[in-house]
Symmetry: C2
Subunit: 137 residues, 2 copies
DNA sequence: TGATTCCATATCGTGTTACGATATGGAAAG
DNA sequence: CTTTCCATATCGTAACACGATATGGAATCA
């Protein structure tokens, strides 16, 4: 009975840690006026390898979203002044996203506090993961 | 320029790993007919220390939700036949949640596949976290 | 070149989840 | 027994995501 519940304990612990981090992250985003997903979009735009055209399709891919969701998200980001949306002159079908100065500034701020917070949460997250990794299948 | 983007790379990598896990989790929940949050509620109900009264307030607390959100979630779980909702005879204001047989079965199934998947994802998650932990503040 | 096919993005309607504001009904304090 | 407090409930609203479908540019081929 108890033994069978071991993995549930481990999983619940891990989820609690993840939730703590995500809630911190959501609140941090809110504190600079961003929605959580807007923050994630900025992060993925900034992180893209040099030379990558950051299109709707690219965002949908790296964020695991359908393209229509990526369209809407990118439009909300544009409306908030975080990114610019222009058409690729080589292929006018494609929309290319770029960080604005505002978007850049917000992302830097968020990255700083996130790094700080994650350095704090990392030990318990690593511990939870290590226990799961070592648990008997 | 490049050095300043280091933490963004690390954070983006970590988020991608988290997203992969959460998307797997959502899909696993869906495969047994549950919504993601229903799964989380079951997990927290099952994980509660013996003797704890699992009330709406308790769920709101451990899941980091407002109580009204917990009310709605628990009602959806009841509607889906995953938990029972009864009033605590000692304090008729409180609603006590218990797993049904169906809820128990679903949670066991989900816990199994989650443990398996997390054992696979753990190394890269741990790696991402370790890098962040060791990065210069 | 013109018709067809394909592809990237856009729009529409819908469902889930979460929240703030507010209401109800039981418990506790005075 | 009334006031106050507390746990839960209800209502309206917003973000987010999706499926289905539309549009308009690119590519292909007859």
């Amino acid at each position: 009975m108890l033994i069978e519940h071991d993995d549930i304990q481990l999983l619940a612990k891990f989820r609690r840690e993840i939730r703590r981090f995500l809630q911190f992250s959501d609140q941090a985003a809110a504190s600079v006026g961003l929605q959580p997903q807007q923050h994630q979009l900025l992060l993925q735009v900034a992180r893209a390898p040099d030379g990558t055209l950051i299109t709707i399709g690219y965002i949908a891919d790296v964020m695991g979203l359908r393209h229509n969701t990526a369209v809407e998200l990118s439009k909300r980001c544009e409306l908030a002044g975080l990114v610019s949306r222009t058409h690729d002159p080589n292929d006018r079908r494609c929309v290319v996203l770029k960080l604005t100065t505002l978007g850049n500034r917000a992302l830097r701020q968020l990255s700083d506090v996130h790094s700080r917070q994650l350095r704090e949460l990392a030990p318990s997250l690593i511990q939870a993961l290590t226990r799961i990794r070592n648990s008997t299948p």
